[in-house]
Structure formats: structure tokens, C-alpha cells
Amino acid sequence: MEPVLALVVGGLYAAAIYMILRRSIVKLVIGLLLLSNAANLLIFTVSGLTREAPPLISAGLDAPLAPTADPLPQALILTAIVISFGVLAFAVVLINRAWHVVQAEDMDQMTGTDT
């Protein structure tokens, strides 16, 4: 399972960076979206996959009997998803406002602050 996920992670990073390098600001935001998903999937993969062993402790015991899946990466990913959701919501509003103000969605038209 890990090799497949590793390839997916790599593909997501590549697609995200390709999209960020495009000139359209809509594609830019799609790229950022893919990038945050790639990072989340990376955390999930790199911390080890354990199938069919939920980190639950049976009644009357202090610790699980057999090794279980690590619940912490999922907590991290959940936090990261919430944060990236908030940030990307802001980014979408921002490109909408920018489109109204600049009347263009091409990064090459947004060079007013570069010189």
C-alpha cells in the first residue's frame, strides 16, 4: 500500500507545483489546494500504515493488547485540513476581489507592485 500512496503523494506535489506556476490566479488556488492535500497525505503515509487495528482499548484493560494504528497523524491531518480550509477560503475570496479590482485573472497583468 505504501508505494502506491508514495506515488500519489509525489504526483500531487508535482501537479500542485505545476498549477502554481501557471499564470491564471484560479489555477494558482487549485495548486495551493492540491499542495495542502499532498502534505496531508504525506503525513498519513510517512507515519506508517497499520491496517485493521484501531487504537481502541478493550473494556477493563489499561493498554491495548496488540500493536495498533497510531492515532496522532490523523489528529495532525485533521488540524491541518481545518487550517488549510480556512486559509483557502480566504484565498478564494481574495482572487475574487482581485479579479474585480484588477479586471484580469492573469498574473502577468498584476505587476503594479513589482517595480
Binding site: A16, I20, I25, L28, L32, L35, S36, A38, A39, N40, L42, I43, V46, S47, G48, D70, L72, P73, L76, T79, A80, I83, G86, V87, F90, A91, L94, I95, R97, A98, V101, V102, M107, M110, T111, G112, T113, D114
Partner: protein, 504 residues
């Protein structure tokens, strides 16, 4: 006692919530901002005092013990940075009274200011790398909203670049955090430091170190990934520019100092050599970029970049004296750079533009402002006896001691370049007569409070601080030296975090 470590994070969060609750009452928001940031400043002093007395302190949030739960840690560096954040928060809140328009205030300027400070203080105090990522995001999201407050075209264009590159760096940081967890199964910085020291696979540790370096390098606006900074920092209201210049890049620099002394101190021949190259190029490109500019705040923005180079130089040389010099440069630069932005805001209030070509004659009409500008400008260029001289002196001395001739030569040359830019501003804005065609431009007066004296109070405060840490450089240097020794010998930090395990 350990409550004190958490308060600088909790207080701005509470103030932010309170400011949101009194959304409709701008006067009350201003009072809360002034009093709240003043209390934050006092907390910073108390925390620094306590850390000097007792050494590094740690507190476990929710009583979850060290490697498992999140800890807040205050060593000397963290405590000083929190104090700096308190000073800057107070000064900028004071300055905002006279420069932030009613429109901006009614769109949540003050709540965002508090949340930004919460993010900054959280980043300084946390002892957990995932928590560090979370505080970075708190800080970034507030800064995004502050940056676009007003919604002008230049702000939109600057903000898209700022948001994109910062989100990219956050993703890099998250990637590095994930890989670290995959390698050692812990997120606590002290615990990672212990486990990395015993790690057999040094190569992978170095890869992670480089990912952290890229992520923090973007946040710190280090070469080659600094272009978002001069593209955006001159667009928002000037109080926001000043706050960003004071704190945001310094959080990146702080994170580098923390990670590359505490955690990644094994393969220094490789990582710190790269850092040295970055430092040199950051200095040079920043100062050359500034030489080509003729907009007040853009010149200052490029100089933020070049000054970051000095701080990184201190980290890269990696001797106690060099680290102390880097820290001294951080403290000095936060104060001086903010003050220059504040002066640019007053010039804008008086003559309605930031373009050097259209400004002029300010020394004739406002000699006091000229003197205040000159104090900060010469301090940044490194003229004795102001604070910048000692920062550069310590760094150069440290460089000479380990015979790093090239970086010392670069640092000295960049000092001359800085002086050139500062004198250019002085000649154009203060010395030359005001150009004829510009005199018709009406001064901008549509701000909440008409009194110019509100703008002078913070500038005088900061100029006084610059002179003070220059003239009384010895105690500041001693504190920097102690902080540097704490950074290099990280056993006290690790014991404060992990040692509490047996105690509780």
C-alpha cells in the same frame, strides 16, 4: 510561576475575542488595544525577569506530560522575543490611533492586530513543531486580512504574491513536520533533539533540515525566496507595514535560530555552510535592490531583506559570539526598522506621497522629525554609538575570530550600501527643497484622530530605545551572550522540557 509562560499567548487571544465582541464601539476597541498591548509589554518584562532568575521554564498544556502533550517553553531568547512583540504591539497600537482610518477600524483592524500578536507570541513560546505550524498559520491568516484591509489595487496584487508564497512555505513546513514525525515519532522539539542526536541515518536528518530551512527561509525573506516581501510590504496602511516589518520576518528568523541550534546541530559543516551563503546573498541582494528604489517604503522593505542577512550570518558562523551578534542584530533591527516605517508614515501624512521624487523640504518644516529619522537611519547603517554599530561590530569580530574573511567583507560592504540608501532618503525627503509641481498635492487627513502628536510619541519612544541599547550596549550584549550560550548548550532547554516529566 509557570502560568507566566502561557499568559503572553492567552492574553492577545482574549483581547482579540473581546475586540470582536465590542465591534460596534471603535473608541472602546482603541482603549482595549492600548491597555491590552501595554499589559502584554509588562508580561514580557515579567517573563524575561523570571527567566533570567530561574533559567528556562516550561509549562505543559492541559497537564499532558512533555513528549506527549504540547509544551510552552520560555528560554532567554523566547522571553526577549516576547518582550519585543509586546513593545512593538504597544507602539503600533499607539501609532494606529493617528493613522488608521475609520473605515479600516470598522473592518476589524484591532481584533486582527491582537490575533497577529497571539500568533507571534505563540510561535516564540511553543516547544512543539506542529504547534509552531499552527501558530504560524494564526499569524499568517491575521496578516493576510490586515494586508488587504482597504482593498486597493496595489494591495490585491501584493496580497496574491504574499499569500501564495507563504502558503507554499507553510506546506513545506508541514511536509518537514510530517517527515520528522515519520522518522522519530515525536513532535516535541526537545525530544526530537535528543532522538536526532542518537539517529544513525544522518542523511535523512539533513534532508529534513533543508526542508525546514526552505520553509523558514521563505518566512524570514532570505535569499533567494524573498520577492514576496518588497512586492507587498509597501501596500497596506503604514501601521500595518510597520508591524509586519517588526515581527513577521523575525518569527521566521527566530524559528531558524531555534531549529538550527536545538535540533539540527549535528551536520553543521553542511547546513550552516549553506546558511552562510544564504546570509551573504541575502545581504547583498537586499541592499542592491534598495539602491534601485525611489519609494520610501520599498527602500525600507528591501532593507528588511538585507538586515535578515546579518541575523542569519550570526547563526551560520555558529560560535557563541556570532550567535550573540545575530541576536543583538534581531533586537536592534526590530526597533529601528519599525521606527523608520513610522517616520515614513508621518512624511506621508504631511505631504501625501511615498515617492522620494515628490517629497522634500521636511527638515526645514519639521526639523525634529529629521533628527528622529537620522537617529534610526544612522543606527541601521551602523554608525557608533547607536545600536546598529554594536550589532555589526559583534558580528564582524566573531567573523574575524574564525577567519571567515569573505562574509566579513560582505557585511562591511553592505553596511556602506545601507548608509548610501539612508542618505538617499535623507537627501530626497528631508534636505532638498520640495519640488514645485508636488506642492499642490493635498496632505492626507482623513484619519480617525487629527493629532500629529500621537504619531510622534511612538517614534520618540523607539528612537530613545535605539540610543539606549546603543549607549548602554553592555547589559544588552551580556543578555545576548547568555541567550547564545543557552542556545548552543541546549541541555538546560531539554531539561526544562523533559525533566519536568519526573517532577510532576
Amino acid at each position: 510561576m509557570t502560568l507566566l509562560v502561557g499568559l503572553p499567548v492567552v492574553l492577545p487571544l482574549v483581547l482579540g475575542a473581546l475586540s470582536l465582541a465590542i465591534w460596534r464601539f471603535p473608541v472602546a476597541q482603541r482603549v482595549v488595544a492600548l491597555v491590552g498591548t501595554a499589559v502584554l509589554l509588562l508580561l514580557g518584562i515579567a517573563l524575561l525577569w523570571a527567566v533570567i532568575e530561574h533559567g528556562p521554564m516550561a509549562t505543559a498544556l492541559g497537564e499532558w506530560r512533555a513528549p506527549f502533550g504540547i509544551v510552552l517553553v520560555a528560554d532567554l531568547l523566547s522571553a526577549i522575543m516576547v518582550l519585543m512583540a509586546g513593545i512593538m504591539g504597544f507602539v503600533v497600537a499607539l501609532y494606529s490611533l493617528g493613522t488608521v482610518s475609520r473605515g479600516h477600524e470598522s473592518f476589524g483592524y484591532f481584533p486582527l492586530l491582537h490575533l497577529l500578536l497571539a500568533g507571534v507570541c505563540g510561535s516564540f513560546l511553543t516547544g512543539d513543531i506542529f504547534n509552531l505550524y499552527v501558530w504560524f498559520e494564526v499569524m499568517l491568516l491575521s496578516s493576510f486580512a490586515l494586508l488587504v484591509l482597504g482593498g486597493e489595487r496595489a494591495q490585491m496584487e501584493g496580497a496574491i504574491k504574499y499569500v501564495t508564497i507563504n502558503l507554499f512555505s507553510s506546506a513545506m513546513l508541514l511536509t518537514a513536520v510530517g517527515l520528522t514525525y515519520g522518522l522519530v515519532g515525536t513532535l516535541n522539539m526537545a525530544d526530537i533533539a535528543v532522538k536526532f542526536d542518537g539517529a544513525e541515518d544522518g542523511g535523512r536528518v539533513t534532508v529534513i533540515a533543508m526542508l525546514f530551512m526552505v520553509a523558514f527561509g521563505i518566512k524570514a525573506a532570505a535569499f533567494p525566496l524573498f520577492f514576496w516581501l518588497p512586492a507587498s510590504y509597501h501596500t497596506p496602511p503604514v501601521a500595518v507595514s510597520a508591524l509586519f516589518a517588526a515581527l513577521l520576518t523575525k518569527v521566521g528568523v527566530y524559528a531558524m535560530f531555534r531549529m538550527f541550534t536545538l535540533v539540527f546541530d549535528a551536520d553543521t559543516a553542511y547546513t550552516h555552510n549553506i546558511l552562510l551563503w544564504i546570509a551573504g546573498f541575502t545581504m547583498v541582494t537586499g541592499v542592491l535592490g534598495a539602491a534601485a528604489q525611489f519609494e520610501f517604503r520599498r527602500i525600507l522593505s528591501f532593507h528588511i531583506v538585507s538586515q535578515i542577512g546579518y541575523m542569519l550570518m550570526g547563526l551560520a558562523l555558529f560560535t557563541p559570539l556570532a550567535l550573540a551578534g545575530g541576536l543583538y542584530a534581531i533586537f536592534h533591527n526590530i526597533i529601528v526598522k519599525t521606527n523608520l516605517f513610522l517616520v515614513s508614515g508621518v512624511a506621508y501624512r504631511l505631504q501625501g506621497t511615498y515617492q522620494l521624487k515628490q517629497l522634500g523640504g521636511l527638515y526645514r518644516s519639521h526639523p525634529g522629525l529629521g533628527v528622529l529619522f537620522l537617529l534610526s537611519a544612522l543606527s541601521m547603517a551602523g554608525i557608533p554609538p547607536l545600536s546598529g554599530f554594536f550589532a555589526k561590530f559583534i558580528l564582524v569580530r566573531a567573523g574575524l575570530e574564525i577567519e571567515a574573511w569573505v562574509i566579513v567583507a560582505v557585511a562591511l560592504a553592505v553596511g556602506i550600501g545601507t548608509l548610501f540608501s539612508m542618505i538617499k532618503i535623507w537627501a530626497e525627503v528631508f534636505w532638498k527643497a520640495r519640488p514645485e509641481e508636488a506642492t499642490t498635492g493635498a496632505p492626507v487627513m482623513d484619519v480617525a484622530s487629527p493629532g500629529l502628536h500621537w504619531l510622534y510619541v511612538p517614534i520618540v519612544l523607539l528612537a530613545g530605545l535605539t540610543v539606549l541599547i546603543g549607549v548602554a550596549g553592555q547589559p544588552i550584549f551580556e543578555v545576548s551572550m547568555q541567550a547564545a550560550e543557552q542556545l548552543l548548550d541546549n541541555s538546560a532547554y531539554i531539561e526544562a522540557v523533559l525533566g519536568s516529566e519526573e517532577g510532576s
